[in-house]
Symmetry: C2
Subunit: 272 residues, 2 copies
Amino acid sequence: MASTSYTDSILLFGDSLTQAWSDGSLAQRMSEYYMRRCDIVNRGFGGYNSDWALPVFEQVFATKEAREKGYAQQVKLITIWLGANDATLPDTPQYVPADRYKSNLVKLVQLVKDPSSAYHSPETEIVLINAPPIIESAWVEARVEKWKSFGSEGPKPEQNRDKKVTKQYADAAIEVAKEQNVEVVDIHSAIIEAAGGEEAEQLKPYFYDGLHLTSEGYAVLFKALSSLIVSKYPELNPETMPMRMPHWADVDLANPNEAFEKVKKGRLAGEL
Amino acid sequence: MASTSYTDSILLFGDSLTQAWSDGSLAQRMSEYYMRRCDIVNRGFGGYNSDWALPVFEQVFATKEAREKGYAQQVKLITIWLGANDATLPDTPQYVPADRYKSNLVKLVQLVKDPSSAYHSPETEIVLINAPPIIESAWVEARVEKWKSFGSEGPKPEQNRDKKVTKQYADAAIEVAKEQNVEVVDIHSAIIEAAGGEEAEQLKPYFYDGLHLTSEGYAVLFKALSSLIVSKYPELNPETMPMRMPHWADVDLANPNEAFEKVKKGRLAGEL
């Protein structure tokens, strides 16, 4: 939406964990947090791994040229949350080897940070989020239930994940963040810490199928992400960001249009 | 956010009833409904009346020229939800006389529908939403509680609304919709019907302060709005709209980029 009054956005990029718009999801929580300050743009694609995320990124992130000409919102911050699908077992369709997962994350970061990239955006803060822990038993049960609900056609689904492998990918994202000098939310550790351990019974409240987060799981993420934003990027603290359009009680009743005209003068260059 | 993969949007325009991004709010429900199909853009401004909405609209709705050049998303549908603040009592700051409220709504509709308007957008469906009922006693109590929470400074708030007046404005929006040949969601009647009456005790589950909707209140709205969309604008039924980017299981593993390249060829003209 070309909008003259909301020139800023925060882009949530990733897989199904990002895609969710349910009550208490990351997107819902962030939208409420930045209400009237900044648009939250959800570019989560369920099931996608980092191989597929690369060509998709080039379609969902505006080019430097488009942004500089004012045809696109500034992306003040991007969360890149991938790894949960890369970490499926070898010989399954979503699997990406850990080394390539790491190099894909580096490529994504460099698309934004490299001055020679067509997508170079120095004003965009980058936050990686790593793969959460999984509950192996709950995940394979959920897969079998889904297969049954579709009439048990085709082979019965088997386990396609391993919690130790997921942990390796979670660690890999932290390594990339350090090497690339970008921030990371270690949701993998944060959920285990909140749960008091990584046993199935301990992790249960945070996952509805052993892989995807409940509102309680997203609450742990939102707390970590919003704390990171406030401490590392105080200019992105919504409490200190200007509200788009004045508070209604601040509108001068004798001359109401003045308040809106002031905003109008700040129109994006590319808006016609 | 200039995005090549999401060329369509639905714009929610209005006051605080639109602004909310809480669990179960209109914006959250619509975002989940249109997940990966279409962006939901929230342009709700708490406290605003239809007088103030007019200059603001011109800043949040892209011009015809910008859209035709491909610099802006198409707005497939706009909800215009105003009236709750216009219907405050005369001599209070948000009050707009009913006649001017009606002519403001007509102006908003014509900004989109009139071929000579700079904001003309024939592809945009327009749905008006009228003011919900209110619980007078709960609203004045909420105002007083808020005043107390801020240290009881200034004069004690008095009642600034009347349920019969709100009903007049709700009827006025329906009249405008008929005259202008656009659709309307009569949330005023729908909530009273769902509640089984308009007594305070009956309406209570639908309002948290006598004016603003609970998730249960928004559920009534969402049911009415989504039913209207499916019946009147079948092309906007998310179940039949193409998903942006293919389902992960449809990606050809031997040649994964082909799926994304196909989308790329459909890039917006104005994207660089």
